[in-house]
């Protein structure tokens, strides 16, 4: 998987499609495949497509301990987040108009919340602890009598911390509040048992777990039943919650990806842990490097490091052709500091930059070694060039220096 350009360590942005998944998808796309519209009940082509769709639904449900009837297909996690948050808020608007989320959520959650604010809802944005975790007591304190929904992601896409969704969900349910979890980064990588978890809505993505882009799912609890107002109407597909022709090959791909992720989770996890150790070990000797987020309660496949006194853009340029991220892919069109890292509020030095390394099933040790060597060399080179690093070496704290502004 490394015959592409450079070394790819941006699995949290998107993963390569597993060849077995691709094969299952391509099999749907040939003339003798399953090209019918799954909503066409009047003929064999439609029924065969529907059968494939339902098999995939079972595969997705099985991975997360859900009933297949609790899985709604969407175009991706962004749509799932929108449907869960806006759909529940709209449906239960007479119950209350307050929602709670966390400052470090994905844009799909935060922007959905902002839209609800424009519609007159109130939203509380919790600050995480410096390690990225949300304190269940802080959540409890934020709940109000009119709170209808709490949305907290399982694994953060930038720093990889794993929230204690069992504890957070328990707080929600004690107060009769719906709990939505964005599991785009965790599904297929960590065990999830919705049968046992106090979660009402959960968003999934296929392309973060070796499946195709453009397909996702939303888990909607049946017992007790959670209701949503559809965001996309027309045709009444997916029990009226999400209309639109179901893209059979995409859904088949997601089902295959989730089934594989379940079957290979132990192996994938062990592999990611070993790579993580190797990566962190590679930077152990380099001064001024910090790991962002909780060091243990995190997904092994995401490592976010800050490098003091190195500027971000020149670092990214220098590490080419290593494909890493300087922030969430959705926001990285600008090099403003990541809002996730800012929300952690670590006592950061004045100047630093961060890289997110994310890796997985197809990453080799040699890829990690390449990344470590490339990043170390660039950081060292840029520090040798940096007047700030020079000050630090002379015992001057650039943060206390009186900078003339002009």
């Amino acid at each position: 998987m490394n015959d592409g350009p450079g070394v790819y360590l941006d699995y949290a942005a998107t993963t390569p499609v597993d060849p077995r998944v691709a094969e299952a998808m391509c099999a749907c796309l040939t003339g003798d495949g399953v090209f019918g519209n799954p909503a066409s009940r009047s003929h064999e082509y439609g029924r065969r497509a529907l059968e494939k769709v339902e098999t995939a639904r079972e595969q997705v449900a099985a991975l997360v301990g859900a009933d297949p009837r609790e899985i709604i297909w969407t175009s991706g996690a962004t749509e799932s987040d929108n449907l869960a948050i806006k759909g529940a808020a709209h449906f239960y608007r007479n119950k209350g108009r307050h929602l709670v989320t966390v400052k470090t959520e994905h844009k799909a959650v935060l922007d959905s919340m902002r839209q609800l604010e424009r519609e007159g809802y109130r939203v509380t944005y919790l600050a995480p602890q410096p390690d990225g975790l949300v304190d269940p007591e802080a959540l409890r304190a934020a709940l109000r009598p009119d709170t209808v929904l709490v949305s907290i992601m399982h694994v953060n896409n930038e720093i990889g911390v794993i929230q204690d969704i069992a504890a957070l969900g328990a707080v929600c349910h004690e107060h009769g509040v719906l709990f939505h979890v964005d599991a785009a980064q965790s599904a297929g990588k960590l065990p999830i048992d919705l049968d046992a978890l106090p979660v009402d809505l959960m968003s999934f993505s296929a392309h973060k777990v070796y499946g195709p882009k453009g397909v996702g799912a939303l888990y909607v609890r049946r017992k007790p039943r959670v209701r949503l107002e559809a965001q996309i109407h027309g045709g009444g597909h997916e029990r009226g919650m999400r209309s639109g022709t179901l893209p059979t090959h995409q859904i088949v791909g997601m089902g295959a990806a989730f089934a594989l992720a379940g079957a290979e989770m132990e192996r994938d996890l062990a592999h990611a842990r070993a790579l993580r150790r190797r990566l962190l070990g590679g930077f152990a000797e380099l001064p001024g490097v910090y790991l962002n987020g909780h060091p243990e309660r995190c997904l092994p496949g995401i490592v976010n490091l800050s490098f003091d006194y190195v500027e971000g853009e020149s670092l990214l340029l220098g590490v080419r052709p290593l494909a890493v991220s300087s922030g969430s892919a959705c926001t990285s069109a600008s090099l403003e500091p990541s809002y996730v890292l800012r929300a952690l509020g670590r006592d950061n030095p004045l100047a630093h930059s961060s890289l997110r390394f994310s890796f997985g099933r197809f990453t080799r040790e040699a890829d990690i070694d390449f990344a470590v060597a490339r990043v170390r060399a660039t950081v060292e080179r840029l520090r040798a060039l940096s007047p700030l690093w020079e000050m630090v070496e002379q015992g001057i704290d650039p943060a206390r220096y009186h900078w003339a502004t002009h």
Partner: protein, 132 residues
């Protein structure tokens, strides 16, 4: 700026192989130091010059904390001013830097910053000489 394709080969070349990186003893005779910008603003440039008895620049050093354009601009200028007198160096304009490196519009401030560093270094040099 994120699209590295916007950078000219000249910027990339100076970024990869910056000239005159390092430091001169700021207290040494004939040395002038300019340190401009701020970490908050995202770019810091330190430019140092050493002049001979005829006020001619005989040695330069620079360091940059900042983007590739700021590094390249510092590097390019450190070469450009070698052999110039202080008066000649002061007459240099940031536009010459921007043109030589074909800086994209969003990076024009980098050329201004290194020009400021040069002016500060020249002023420091003159001040120290007058004081000496």
């Amino acid at each position: 700026m994120i699209d590295f394709e916007l950078y000219s080969p000249a910027v990339l070349e100076h970024y990869e192989r910056p000239r005159n990186v390092g430091a001169l003893d700021p207290e040494a005779p004939g040395v002038g130091t300019g340190l401009v910008g701020s970490p908050q603003a995202g770019d810091v440039v330190k430019l140092q010059i050493r002049v001979d008895a005829e006020d001619r620049i005989v040695e330069t050093r620079f360091k940059t904390y900042g983007c590739a354009a700021a590094i390249a601009a510092g590097s390019w200028l450190s070469e450009r001013i070698e052999g110039l007198t202080l008066d000649e160096a002061e007459a240099l304009d940031s536009r010459e830097i921007a043109e030589a490196l074909a800086l994209p519009a969003v990076k024009m401030h980098c050329s201004v910053l290194v020009e400021d560093a040069l002016r500060a270094a020249v002023a420091d040099c003159r001040r120290r000489r007058a004081g000496a």
